[in-house]
């Protein structure tokens, strides 16, 4: 009797492991299956066409690919000095004590605020500010657009990138740092010549992981990017990202090809973020061993 129960228990564990694996496989499979019709009608040109006009049955994903690339890389660029500074600040200057605790609590608090609220705040506070800036610069004052979306995204990824960076910086062995200090190095020289080289791959992984975040982020971007399906011509132009076009148009997709085109974009989004995440995780895992 006990023997049977043991077997049953082991079997149910194996079953739940298989279920999770099958779940992921089934996710990929359904995305591919439902994305097929659009590839059948437009071929791989789907990825390169610049025209997205569902009414005429034209589906080209290029505007959204470019929109996603622009917003996420700009966001990365904006956030990099800040997240690096916080990572060094918390990893080296204040790695314990009250100030560290304050910063840790604030960043975890802010990482917990739902993204729709960032979007809401962006819509009511950031958009008017950007509009003022655009009037000063003499470009069309939409307020919403790629630039605004990148700003809100960079605010959102700072806590995330900083926490990964702090972690890898604190992994640097103190013997190495002490050796450099013993040779008379200043603190900055230790950071520059010991910590950075040692943590380089980890910092790179942190950047990759936050890039994955930025690419997949939906709500905050959807609310401030302006929902425009034209190929983006300027950094201040309203546009759409892969995630935001799905959020905006999925419930409106009337024809099967239209739905399939949106699902194909979801598949693409899934593949890109998966590759980025797996590489990032792989690097961090290698580093912490």
């Amino acid at each position: 009797m006990t023997f049977n129960r043991d077997k049953l228990f082991e079997k149910s564990l194996t079953l739940s492991a298989w279920l999770v694996v099958i779940l992921v496989a089934a996710m990929c499979l359904s995305l591919v299956l439902y994305a097929l019709p659009v590839f059948r009608t437009t071929g791989f040109g789907f990825l390169f066409h610049r025209l997205w006009d569902p009414l005429q049955g034209k589906f080209g994903a290029m505007p959204f690919l470019v929109g996603t690339l622009l917003t996420s890389f700009l966001a990365l660029l904006f956030s990099l000095p800040f997240s690096l500074a916080i990572a060094i600040f918390l990893g080296e200057y204040f790695n314990s004590g009250k100030i560290a605790l304050f910063f840790q609590n604030t960043t975890s608090l802010l990482a917990g605020i739902p993204s729709v609220i960032y979007g809401f705040w962006g819509l009511f506070v950031l958009v008017p500010l950007v509009r003022k800036l655009e009037i000063k610069l003499g470009v069309l004052p939409y307020g919403v657009g790629i630039f605004t979306a990148s700003l809100i995204l960079s605010i959102m990824i700072i806590p995330y990138a900083a926490s990964v960076g702090r972690e890898v910086i604190s992994l640097v062995p103190s013997e190495l740092k002490e050796a450099a200090y013993a040779l008379g190095a200043t603190r900055w020289e230790v950071i520059r010549h010991v910590i950075f080289p040692y943590a380089r791959s980890g910092i790179f992984a942190g950047i990759l992981l936050s890039l994955g975040r930025a690419i997949g982020e939906t709500m905050a971007v959807t609310m401030v990017i302006g929902n425009n399906n034209q190929f983006p011509t300027s950094l201040f132009a309203p546009a759409n990202t892969m995630a935001s076009v799905i959020a905006n148009e999925f419930t409106e997709a009337t024809s099967d090809v239209y739905l399939s085109a949106l699902i194909a974009i979801a598949l693409l989004l899934f593949l890109v973020t998966t590759v980025i995440n797996i590489i990032g995780r792989y690097i961090i895992e290698k580093l912490s061993v």
Partner: protein, 281 residues
Amino acid sequence: MIENYRKRKLVNTLMKGLVFFFTILSLVPLLFILFYLIKQGIGAINWEFLTHLPKPVGESGGGVFNAIVGTIILIVLSTLMAVPLGIGAGIYLAEVKAGKLAYLLRLGTDILQGTPSIVLGVIAYLWVVKPMKSFSALAGSVALAIMMLPMIVCSTEETLKLIPYSLKEAALALGVPYYRTILKVILPAGFSGILTGILLGIARIAGETAPLLFTAFGSPYLNLNPLKPISALPLVVFNYASSPYPDWWRQAWGASFVLTVMVLVFNLAAKIGTRKWEIKF
């Protein structure tokens, strides 16, 4: 020599200043958001807001009671779906460690962890909404459950790995069968860690909007039926924020505040839970 020394010292101070400057500057937008949320949110909250249903467009007043109930239903349903499967898979990882299935499972949870939430919404639409031909709370919870799953698997595995092997050996040496050793000795010892993982998972899904847009969909009525469209706080924030009515904007701030407090409570509970029932051996 002295010249060089001065220069190095100057660079050191300069870089220190730069790091401090950027760190403090980065707090500005973050605190600005928090300040705005609290200021606008508290002003919108009163008894009516928390306990009444929304009023039709044009009438002021009304509340988000249905959305609060909807969020709770979504959380309960998705937790019920994700927790048993997640704990099972987590125990498998902690017990088996190597092998083909363990490798695939680890890869799968890694993939799920990085999947954008909007993609999970698409999946739940294809799996639940399309066959049943109706938006539903069930579809929303499927999306949220998939999102929560990897966190539970990971926290279960990490926790069980920390439990000393001697505990298991002692139980087995006493003749306790394997399944009872896991269920009655190992799992209770790791209870706090697993609970923390579940609470963090809930905190993560409670504020999610993207997977609900075309699954739970939202509804202006109080709905308790999991097969019908249901409202949720994040959906209310999104819909009201993009509306043209100032009264709805006010309510959206209120809903944002309630939602943030909810997420914080779960995060805090997780933190306190870890500290209180920390595994000490």
